[in-house]
Symmetry: C2
Subunit: 269 residues, 2 copies
Amino acid sequence: MGLSRRDLMKKAGMAAMGTGFAGLTLSMANSAIGAGEQTKIPDLPWPYKKLDPAAVAEAAYAGFYKGACSYGVFESIVAPLRKEIGFPYTMMPSTLLVVGQGGVADVASLCGSLNGAASAIFLVTGGMDKKPREAAYAIIQDVFLWYEQTALPDYRPKNPKYEIIKSVSGSNLCHVSVSKWCKASKFKSFSKERSERCGWLTASVAKHTAEALNKYADGAFKMAYPLSAAAQACRSCHDKGSTLENTRGMSDCGGCHFTPSMKQVHPKM
Amino acid sequence: MGLSRRDLMKKAGMAAMGTGFAGLTLSMANSAIGAGEQTKIPDLPWPYKKLDPAAVAEAAYAGFYKGACSYGVFESIVAPLRKEIGFPYTMMPSTLLVVGQGGVADVASLCGSLNGAASAIFLVTGGMDKKPREAAYAIIQDVFLWYEQTALPDYRPKNPKYEIIKSVSGSNLCHVSVSKWCKASKFKSFSKERSERCGWLTASVAKHTAEALNKYADGAFKMAYPLSAAAQACRSCHDKGSTLENTRGMSDCGGCHFTPSMKQVHPKM
């Protein structure tokens, strides 16, 4: 069978612009024959369009019951961008974010909703270079500190399975966040109510993350949740440039150290 | 400018097979015009080929100094798969994993090398469905527990900047892992030696992860690092199905609770 030049171009979806591959349409550029550069996954940050935080929250709640907390937050932000922008979001394997479930693979380390939020924030603001890396980290740290200091969940889904009370975690860890809520609510850590609470929490974190990203897109993002005065006092002896300089991080110390129930005593200074 | 049919096909990298787009070569199939199905990102797990753990370790050490701990581990595993297998690894935006740096965005929560390892493991063994999800989680939990219980770093790069001593973290957290090493080594938490230690650690975690994935590929993976007897004793009152059932997770409790220096006392039972 023979194909004329015209047939080939037609088959390729090309308008006959007579300039070869320089004349590809925009939609073609991402998947065209010979368009190696265009099919290459672009560097971070990927383009962002402002999102509707309430819609993001509802999507995150639904996403939680599909792929858990981390996937719930990440995909609630990536899905509308995939719909609005298309490539490269069409190439993002969001299922990878399922792994953040229950503090990564049910280990109960870093809260999955925060791990998912961090990835979503980095995807649209971060990069390998110092400048975007630090810009993304500032947003992420602010979301993490908001999470530690705020009575959550603060978003009630439109059609919840149960009503859920709030608690303050004082920590970014799944284990601490869950146990503090169990203590406040009297529900067990493997109860359906605790699971629902994590659904609401996923929605709350997704909404707050979308709001932070919208502010960043407007050039109006400012860190709003500084470390507590107590944690800053700890850091004066333990953080960078201090006498001891034996720790690092950006988190409330009181979530683990010197909690009242543990009768913990600080070593003599 | 005019392009002949031959020129067009040549430009498209096509062998002149005379069957139009049905005659695309395999490498073309992933980026070809009209090949919508092939350009869709495939479901997890992605295909895996057994890796050379020593080569992975060296790549991870180099990757640490480019994109930090999480990126170092993840890309040391993904890069050889991208080279060997091509698509879909060519579409994976590995820079996203930079965000795991220093326990996510320098927050010092979950150790970035473990966060990167978890993502790499899930990418090649996990998925949305229960079966691959649980298979991946078993490997991830075993890597996390190995990390907690083992004197690390246990891989010495070929051309290190400094010599590095080992320590046992008893925890999967960046903050705890770093502070325990600082105590053991007498180096400060923002020193160049501590940074080098995290480079060695990145290499160690990457090597161990590649070894676990190679075993899994051979159908020979078995969990080898159970929770400590002490942690299992804690869980008999606090975990799923217990009297209190007020926690969840898969981690040594003693990394944070009842550490000797804190003179912590368990509440009366």
